[in-house]
Each structure stands twice: as C-alpha cells, then as structure tokens.
C-alpha cells in the first residue's frame, strides 16, 4: 500500500485519480482541495452565467466519483509547504499529510498588475473559479456597466457569459487585438467584429492608468465608467510550493514526459506544469483542459509505479462567440497555406514535411484530422496534402493507412 497525495482538485487531479486507479486499485488517495467544490468543469463558468449549464450539470464526474475511487478530499484546506525530507505535506489546518508519491495539480492564479487606485474599486472580480462566477453573478444587475480588463480567452468568455444580463460591457487590453495569444491580427479582427456586433465595446492597445471606484482613466485619455470590474489580465502557474523546496521551475513546474519533476516522488500536471510542446519542440505551460487531463492521467499512472508517457502536448483551442467558432492548434511557424471567404478563414502552417499548426474560423468541420497530423508528426509526403488543404478528410490518407485507421480497433 502506498499513500498518494494530490494537491489541487481540478481536471488534472481528476485525471491523476483515474491514472492512479488504472494501475493501483487499492491504495488510499488524499486530495487537498482549496476550493470547497467537487471537481467541476472550470471552462464552463462562462456558460453558467450564460444559462447554458447549471451547477449540477457542471460536475466533471458523477456524484460518486471520489467514493468509487477511494479518495478522501480535504475541502477548504490549503497545502502550505512540502516537507520533501520527511515526505509530508504541511496543511493550513496544522496537520501533516504523509505521502509516498505526490502530484502537484495546483493550477494557476490570476495575475493582477499594480494599477493605481485599484483598491478603491469595491466590486472587483477575477474569473477563474466557480466561486468567482457566483460572486460575479451576485454583483451584477440588469443595469450594470461592466469593464473587463483583458481580451484573452478568459476575458472574452466572461463577456459572452455576461451578455444579455447587464446593460453595458466594455473590454480593454494592452494588446492591439483580442485573443492575442492564439490569433494573428486578421483573425483577431474577425472575432472582435463578431463581439462588437453584439454590442460589446473594445479599447485595444489601451490600458487603465488609474482607477477610482467607478471609473477607469485610460492611457488614451478616455474615461470608462463601470459598476463592476473584472480583471482577466493573465494567469501565473502556482509554482510556489515547489519552488521553495528548490525544485526546477521556469514559468511552470518543469516536467518530463512522465510528468516527473526534478524531485523524486513528486509529479506535476495541468496549468501549474511546464511540459513539452511538440509542435515547437520547447517546454511551455499549456493551460488547456485536455492537456490537464492527459498530463494528470500520466502523472497518476506513474505515481502508482506505471510507465505512462505523455508526449503529444500541443496548444489547441476551440473557442466560439455568439455562434462564430475559431479553432487553433500548434505553432504558427513555416509556410502558410491560406483560404479566405467572407465567412471563413483557414491558415495551415507547414515546415519540414509536417503540419505545425492551424487557425480555422468558421470552417471547423473535421478539424481533428488536422490536429492529429500535428500530434502524430505525420510526414505530409505520406498523404495527399493538396486534397487535405482544401478540407479535412481521411480521403487524403493512402488506402493502406485508411484501412489501418478504420479497419480495426484504434
């Protein structure tokens, strides 16, 4: 019997639990959960505000998930320190939790830059957790004017979630375009237009130089009045616990393809971890749900003595606003193939006989075929890429490859 401890109770932790149980059905698992909720679908908090889901449907797993998997969850408890010498975790309630193998699935925290006067703003929110969403829901009225600082994935999904529930939504960002981490200017502008058509107002390439309780004084000279402020500037991986024991940390906790950190017996997964992005060959924090689950699963299996490799990590996002969907994956490097119509835009990035990345707006049908080429590092010379450029189809594979793919089990 071993003692497994997981710090964090998000998707990476759920993957970790299922990973442990794929190897070890018996040993006890303890989950340290700062949030007082069972694992829930974190990216759905905007859909919750929008009314497309509710608290019950937001459960990531069934109500018997922890019981079925032999887990005890410590809710509302924080891991304060890792005592690596004695293999214990010191908890905020004073207890020490012994472990044989530990996974850090501690996620990330909102990053708030030092804005002058921010402390004067009483209705100030982040948009990362279910409690954030519930707090924001409490704070708004149909007459509210909302200012969202940050036009990234979190800020814009928040805007979509609030749309129709408040009087006015303004989004500002220091970057000159929306979704700047995943879209280039032209693609970003298409998404921005779609949001603007719904009445969402933007101040891009602009930032608040100071705040008072109900106003943001922008660098451009504009003054934006608001009742509710949402700060969605960015996130930082929660690496503190690991950093203080001298573990290797860059932007996230550095892990290998088994999710092993630099300290024996300690693994990391999800938004706090920094693993290999195979589309560019460098280590990056890939703060997306599929990555969290898959890293978590590998960490869990390996904690329990298995040997699970996760070496297919790439950035990938499917994000839609008011019916317009954008899909992105991989790295935007190399030669570009482009197709544009009024309603759709496709960019495929190829280099050294491989597809490295893509951006698809309004033409996302069967996009997973493209994604699989990136993840599998498929040589483009092995298939009919001219056909594939036009549209994602398995017809582009050789009959033999297709037979293998479709003929038997995968």
């Amino acid at each position: 019997m071993k003692n497994y401890v997981i710090i964090g109770n998000g998707i990476a932790a759920a993957g970790c639990i299922e990973g442990i149980r794929s190897v070890d059905k018996e040993s006890p698992i303890t989950v340290v959960s700062e949030e007082k909720h069972e694992v829930y679908c974190r990216p759905l908090i905007s859909y919750y505000l929008e009314g497309k889901t509710d608290l019950d449907r937001m459960r990531y797993r069934g109500a018997d998930f922890y019981e079925k998997n032999g887990c005890s969850v410590l809710y509302g408890v924080k891991a304060e320190h890792i005592l690596a010498d004695t293999k214990e975790v010191a908890l905020s309630d004073g207890r020490k939790l012994p472990y044989d193998a530990l996974t850090l699935a501690a996620g990330s925290s909102p990053f708030v830059p030092p804005f002058a006067g921010l402390e004067l703003v009483k209705s100030r929110h982040s948009f990362m957790t279910l409690d954030d969403a519930l707090g924001l829901e409490q704070a708004i009225t149909p007459d509210s004017r909302v200012l969202i600082v940050g036009a990234g994935l979190i800020g814009l999904k928040c805007a979509e979630g609030l749309h129709g529930r408040v009087a006015e939504i303004t989004v500002c960002d220091l970057a000159d375009r929306v979704l700047s981490s995943i879209l280039d200017e032209e693609c970003a502008y298409r998404m921005q237009k779609c949001l603007e058509e719904q009445g969402i107002r933007f101040f891009l390439g602009d930032s608040a130089s100071r705040f008072d309780e109900h106003h943001a004084f922008m660098r451009s000279g504009a003054i934006v009045g608001f009742d509710v402020l949402v700060l969605a500037v960015g996130v930082r991986a929660n690496t503190g616990l690991f950093r203080e024991i001298g573990g290797n940390v860059n932007r996230g906790i550095l892990v290998d393809e088994r999710m092993q950190t630099s300290v024996p017996g300690i693994f990391a997964a999800g938004d706090c971890a920094e693993g290999l992005d195979i589309s560019c060959g460098t280590k990056r924090v890939l703060a997306i749900l599929p990555n969290a689950y898959m890293q978590g699963h590998a960490a869990g299996a390996n904690m329990a003595g298995g040997n699970e490799i996760f070496d297919k990590g790439i950035p990938m996002n499917s994000i839609g606003f008011f019916g317009l969907h954008a899909m992105t994956a991989g790295s935007y490097d190399g030669e570009v193939y482009e197709e544009k119509t009024e309603k759709s835009l496709k960019r495929l990035f190829t280099k050294d006989d491989r597809l490295l990345g893509f951006i698809l707006i309004g033409c996302e049908e069967r996009a997973g075929i493209y994604t699989s080429l990136i993840r599998e590092k498929t040589p483009l010379s092995s298939l009919n890429f001219d056909l594939l450029k036009k549209g994602a189809t398995t017809l582009a594979f050789s009959p033999e490859t297709r037979r293998k793919k479709f003929g038997g089990a995968v």
Partner: protein, 146 residues
C-alpha cells in the same frame, strides 16, 4: 467489441446510411415527417471522390481523445461505447478539434452528437448497417488493436 466497419470497394456513395441514421435518431416513426424537406443531421457521413467512397462514424476508440478533451465532462466511455450526454454538452466543439476521424458534428440544437451504435434508439442495432443496400457497412467483431 463490435464496431461499424465499411468496405470501400462496395460503398456506392448512395448516402442512404446518412438518411437511415438521421431517421433512427429522430425519435419519429414516420420517415417523411422526420426527414423530408429538412436539413438532416446524421452521425455518419460519406466521404470520397468519384473513385473511392466510404462512410465514417465514431470508431469507439479504446483510448478516446474526445473523452479526455471534453471540457464539459459530457463524453464518456460506457463499457466500450463512447457516449455523449447532450444535456451536459455546451457545444464548445473541442471534440471536433481533436477527433482524428472527424466523427463528431453538431446536432440541430447546436450540441454535439456522435454514433452510439443505435443501442438506445428504436432501431436497436446500427441503422446504417441494416439499411446499406450493398452490405458495404457491417457491424462485427474484428478484435482489438495490438
């Protein structure tokens, strides 16, 4: 497990499987009422060109990336069958982004749908197989991958 397989050589690209699928999953007992004059949303689709054609539906992967990637916890493995809980799905389309076969697509309501082998609709067995005029689509056990 038993899966739906297609023999490319025998597929006529008649698209009947698409109609049979849409009908079987419509919940209606009259095919005309279910399909005539309406856009159909089948869970199987025919791909191909003038020489080759074949129908594609969910492969029910042993290691399903759609399930691992679903942000709503709506996709799951029930025994060996990959199922989607349409009540939980929010239509984010991450499953479309990751499925290497292109086997998931939106339903009429905007949430995603996929082949569930007709195990729970009135057909009770894959309607695409039952209605294939040239027996190009079969439902059989072929063993698991190595």
């Amino acid at each position: 497990m038993k899966r739906v397989y297609v023999n490319e050589k025998w597929c006529l690209a008649c698209h009947l499987c698409e109609f049979n699928c849409a009908f079987a999953n419509s919940g209606l007992s009259d095919m005309v009422l279910a399909l005539k004059g309406k856009p159909i949303y089948p869970r199987i689709h025919v791909e191909g060109d003038e020489k080759i054609s074949y129908a594609v539906s969910c492969r029910h992967c042993e290691d399903p990336i759609c399930v691992k990637s679903c942000i709503a916890g709506a996709l799951s493995k029930d025994g060996e069958v990959i199922k989607i809980d349409k009540n939980k799905c929010v239509g984010c389309r991450t499953c479309i982004l990751v499925c290497p076969f292109g086997a998931l697509a939106p339903s009429a309501s905007g949430v995603m749908q996929k082949c569930e082998l007709c195990l729970e609709n009135s057909c009770g067995e894959p309607a695409c197989v039952k209605g294939c005029p040239n027996r190009a689509i079969v439902y059989e056990e072929r063993g698991e991958a190595e």
